[in-house]
Amino acid sequence: MTTSLPRRFTARTQAALAVERLAAEASRRLGRGSGEMIGGKLALRVSPGALAEVGSHRLSACVSGTNGKTTTTRLLARALGTLGPVKSNSGGANMAPGVLAALSRPPFDAAAALEVDEIWLPKVAREIGPRVVLLLNISRDQLDRSNETRRIAAMWRELGAELPETTVVANVDDPLVAWAAAGWHRQVWVSAGQNWTADAMVCPQCAKLLHRNDTGWWSECGLARPEPIVAVTGPRELRWYGRTIPARIDLPGRVNLGNAAMAAAAAREFGVEVEASLGAMTGLGDVQGRYQEVVLGEQGRRGRLLLAKNPAGWVEMMELLADAPPRPVIIDFNSQTADGRDPSWIWDVPFERLGGRQVLVTGERKEDMSVRLAYAEVPHSVQPSAEVAALAANEKVVDVVANYTAFRDLLVRCSR
């Protein structure tokens, strides 16, 4: 298979890609997930320069931010797909090994839409030199891991100065993102919305309190919300380079229209017209199982799967739940490393809004969630699993809101 690799790849990287393929296949055969992580890790050990070799000679975009990475990457991959083949780490493995795995199969000149973890973005972007970087938002997530939102913003800002050929597509509604992107050589400013402001109260530039009103935010030091060239202006409407256009996608919620606007603005940098982008995005009804309806357990109960892994994500889910008839809600809550070990953020979520629904709680930290709901005076029951909870629900169709590992495990069980 190494004969199909471009000549410019070093022997070391050719070996690394062979190792990646073998390891990924072995991992899949053993039923240990889709294999991107282990294959990519081994390959990087064999050839630390592999990412630059497979990534730098193609058109690529990196998508980063606390919330919406996977969805936005998927939307962008669809839009870029109108031009030709696209590589993407659609499995959600978003650190260097996962990105490498996505780029390690031919064609090696295919465009790439890459989801990249916030902290890994500088390393990945320096290696592959993307044409476009999308910066969505920065909020608290995994409190035990990245404890300083501003530090991530500062890291991104420095990165921009090193990438003179790269355009940043940035969300003006997040002050941390806008400040980070202001340090780049070229910006496309998008108003994608921000319904969680609690993590951006302080100016990242001067550390004074930010001022806000309905139309924007500004700081005494002069930092202010840039004027966006693309904006979400209604539930099915965008302002797009001076005109108003209808925008309808199949993913629910205003938050996903914001993700679509970001992706379309990025795709435009590759030459894709907005109508073509949005057209390619419709028909995408679920992302990695999110928003998908699945069968829960053997009794045929059905559940719509929703992911909420931090306060910002939960507030989005609250909006989304309010848009639909009030079904029972199952909350499946873990605190493994990938979730963040510290579950205290659930006290920032306005769970009072679930009042009036039947609420069922499960997961490894169900007791923490149960105490939170008790103090929110939301009646609920505690259940051993989501499947058992679905049986205990008053209706045959439920919404299941899970955080990262709970969601992942649920998806695996439901697709068996």
């Binding site: 300083e148 609690a198 006290w347």
Partner: protein, 262 residues
């Protein structure tokens, strides 16, 4: 107008000092009063506005470096908390808030002057200047409270870079002895190489009059309802009994199993 017996709970600058769900402490205190039939009011004090006079309980939570300094400067401006403490108000200060109520605290590579409500000082490290500072203290923490408080084991989560120690002339006493985790991290053997004396277990927090500081979040009062009732008792005197709620009993049992079984 509030009735004479309404307990006013001031949540100070939640946008700055609320990184670790510490706003939950206000929810817990207010609910535990209302469940007993006692009126309570949570006074949200948004960043940038003056700290109100005359509240019964003042809550300071955790925050990142720049917000911590901004919050401390705001609190210092009208000194309302210091006056309130002088007239018997209760203060619960957690994490960054705990550091701020001390005499000095580190932030952004500098040492800042704290509020001086209690005799503690916090630094990035108390080790020799040439030694690398200790790693951030991040993880579950279990504290055996001082017997004088009559409290059961305290469970929480900690996430801080600073190390804290009592000054020689400090009043009050440590909140408790660290059984798991780092806590103050400056007193003893809780963390080899970073502590002061060898062998003695490390402590966490301080109780000085009606001011209580700790590194435990979680929020601390959600996981430790007896601590919430201790603070409320300082305001009210003996409180009507309140069992549970049962959810907290289950949570404490789950934490005990997860954190104290070998």
């Amino acid at each position: 107008m509030r009735g004479a017996s309404t307990t006013r709970i001031a949540l100070i600058y939640p946008e700055l000092l609320g990184t670790y769900g510490d706003g939950g402490n206000a929810i817990v205190l207010a609910r535990r009063l209302r469940w007993r039939g006692l009126p309570a009011e949570v006074v949200q004090v948004p960043a940038g506005s003056p700290v109100p006079e005359g509240c019964d309980i003042y809550l300071l939570g955790g925050g990142e470096d720049a917000p911590q300094v901004l919050a401390a400067d705001g609190i210092r401006q009208n000194r309302a908390i210091l006056r309130a403490v002088g007239s018997g108000a209760v203060v619960l200060a957690v994490c960054a808030g705990y550091q701020v109520i001390g005499v000095t605290y580190p932030s952004g590579g500098q040492i800042h002057e704290g509020l001086g409500l209690v005799g503690i000082e916090t630094r990035r490290s108390f080790g020799p200047p040439e030694a690398a500072p200790p790693p951030r203290a991040v993880g579950d923490i279990v504290v055996e409270p001082d017997p004088r408080l009559g409290l059961p084991t305290l469970y929480g989560y900690e996430n801080h870079g600073g190390r804290t120690r009592r000054l020689p002339d400090a009043g009050g006493f440590p909140l408790g002895t660290v059984r798991r985790g780092i806590g103050d991290g400056a007193a003893g053997g809780g963390e080899p190489g970073h502590g002061g004396g060898e062998g003695s277990p490390g402590t966490d927090g301080i109780v000085d009059g009606r001011v209580l500081g700790t590194y435990l979040h979680g929020p601390v009062l959600a996981q430790n309802p007896a601590l919430a009732d201790l603070l409320l008792g300082w305001v009210h005197g003996p409180l009507p009994p309140l069992d549970g709620p049962p959810e907290t009993v289950a949570l404490r049992e789950a934490r005990r199993r997860a954190l104290t079984t070998p």
